[in-house]
Amino acid sequence: MSAIELDGVSKSFLQIAVLREIELSVPEGSRTVVVGSSGSGKTTLLRLISGFDFPDAGTITVSGRRVAGVGAAVPAHQRGIGVVAQDGALFPHLTVGENIAFGLGIRKSGGRASAVRKLLNMVSLDADFAPRRPDELSGGQQQRVALARALARRPKVMLLDEPFSALDAGLRAATREVVADTLAREGVTTVLVTHDQAEALSFADQLAVLREGRLTQVGSPRELYARPVDLFTARFLGDAVVLDATVEGELARCALGAVPIVPTPIRGDASIMFRPEQLAVGPAEADGCAGRVEAVEFYGSEVLLTIRLEGAGDATAADGVIRVRQRGTSNAVVGSRVGVTAIGPAIAYPREPVSAP
């Protein structure tokens, strides 16, 4: 059974449609990530599930119980869904311990301290955090307290609204790990929304891409990364090398020569997409595709090479230039001639209108 089921959910604010006809099924115990750029409607989606807002159309079902839709409007405090907001939203007038105990409904005497200690422990925080005030905590600690507070009521479903985006890079990874482990251990169904594609790919069992209020694709992270439904999604989920091509059966003819593609109904003019790691740069070979290195950006563990391909018909066209990611040990220098080979099939899409360079 799905933990959360959204069926035809739409929502607009001031006549502007923010979500349109959302269909999403979140399997029990899974970690589903909704990824979208800012303004795509992802926070609104979470607020509809949590009960802070209600949809204009469609139904929302949580653990088999209809909470929004025709004849149902269960307010947030009766849904039993845990929420961790972007900045934690800790109560500034209460201590950490009081924050965590807020939803417990236990009086000070009745085992509250031990419950708080257990919850702090659960999110890898020391018990002596309890008497401190939220503003004495770092951002990552605040997020963990917010998680502990939400876990205190043993929710079946937890919603995370960009909970790591306010943290700096190192803290973000560590906090994400603690949160992911905790939720997995407790078997809580989790929905995370984020605009960070790396976070989305690494956190998700199921990934849903939200674009201008519509879910454009739902599936496993690997599937979405390797087989994005359109070029927008492809570029959103990672770097993409896009070349003009002509599709002939199972091959596409492009600046790299004839390359295999994933089976497609498209024939003739098309754009094909590689992930940068699908392209290997080596010594130029007589019968292979070659190009000249125009720029080298060194990032330590990897280098980003900008290569102008020789096979391209028009030497000034943007599509003659590709950017390839290589290991940092690559010794390509600007001006050198290199060979480029494709590993694995490309994906064909309808030809893009002429794109800006």
Partner: protein
Amino acid sequence: MKPAPNLPQQPAGGSARGRGAAGPGRRGRVPKRRPPLAIVLIAVAVSLLGLLPLGYVVVTAALTGWTELSGLVFRPRVGELLVNTIGLVVVTVPICAVVGVLAAWLVERTTIPGARVFAVLLAAPLAVPAFVNSYGWVSAIPSLNGLWSGVLIASLSYFPLVYLPCAAALRRLDFTVEEAAASLGTGPWRVFFRVVLPQLRLPLLGGSLLVGLHLLAEYGAFAMIRFDTFTTAIVDQYRSTFNGPAATALAGVLVLCCLFLLVGESAGRGRARYARIGSGVARAARRRPLGALTPLGWAFLAGVFVLSIGVPFWSVLRWIVAGGAAAWADGVVVSALAQTVLYGAIGAAVTCGLAFPIAFLAIRFPSRMARALESINYVTSSLPGIVTALALVTVSIRLVQPLYQTAVLVIVAYLLMFLPRALVNLRAGLAQVPPGLEEAARSLGRPPAAAFLGVTARFIAPSALAGAALVFLGIVNELTATLLLAPNGTRTLAIQFWSQVNDINYAGAAPYALLMIALSLPVTYLLFAKSRLVSAP
């Protein structure tokens, strides 16, 4: 909002700065920047002046001697006044707190019809001086007198002191915190009491303190309904025996009451910090539909408005009509208006000018002394005007006779009473000017004074004007100290109003009441608008 990092002269702890750069010869001590001497002298002088009222009470009490003093303090009359005054405070402050918070919540957090209009209207009572409100109520119900009438009138006059800061705080509260409480299974009512109300503690306490201080200081409103408090008794005493030890003893007890409130409020604040923890812009709060309670909520807001604004306005207008053209004819009204505006303008200019050095030191050269100078002035202004006036009368007669019965003394009283209104605004304005701008101007070749005038002064002009406007409002509506200090023949709006009322010429008083309200309304609106700004202090 982060508190301004006002750390004074942090030693360069641990950073690479001090050690390596400073050679063995120099001890690595940064030479201290010193504030301009003139600024320091003015700030100290103004603050010493601010010690005058408190000093007067203490010194007079000491000179009077214990036996006489205890005879004056421990007598049935003082007990009676104490019961009246404490009763007034104990009943009125909670009423103002409840009305203020409820009104703020209805206006800011519900979908009640007309919420935006009520938001402005409920600030309007601040434009009606309490003694004019009292006059309006006595006109409507002549039999009003005693504690409960005092509570009624004072509550209607002073609830905006709680309402305004609470409404402002409600607008600023991080709504996601309330949503978090809801997601933890807390219903709307419990969210209000467990999450919203505790976060309103500071504005609620601050507003209640102001209500309490106003109650202790008010003379006209209670004199009109023959309700005796310490302040009315001091004025009566002063009238009958001029400035005897009896008035001073009463003033001493009154000062103790004030200090008690001040200490109580600061103890209530605790050390809690209720700033928003998260970063970024807070999500706007969602308004809640009241459902079946809508008519009740609306009736409450409309009722408060009618009672606090409707009644005094209706009375004033009724008397205006009854008095007809005759009440305006003799030219006194115009001259009173001119005198009031003149006192207000000079008072505001002097107060802002003399508040500036203190604000400047507090922001640019923060130190323990700067803080002390600042807080002296806050304490002084929270003492009732009657105490300040008595102190100035006594000191001028004993030490600087030529100043007695002059306009200068009146202005000094206004300075002492209203300095914080200018100080708070100037301080906030100065804190928002990035010192980097002034430094940039200096690096472009401007001498410090020119850089200050060209850059910083322009930045703080709006806040200086706001402060001046509030001082002006205070002066226009000031009655007690003006009555005691003004030279014979002074006719401000407040004095003229009061003398007409004392002659039971209510129709003759109406034009003055109307003009005071008209002068106050724009400033009150300014106050309201300012409280809506997120960056308000």
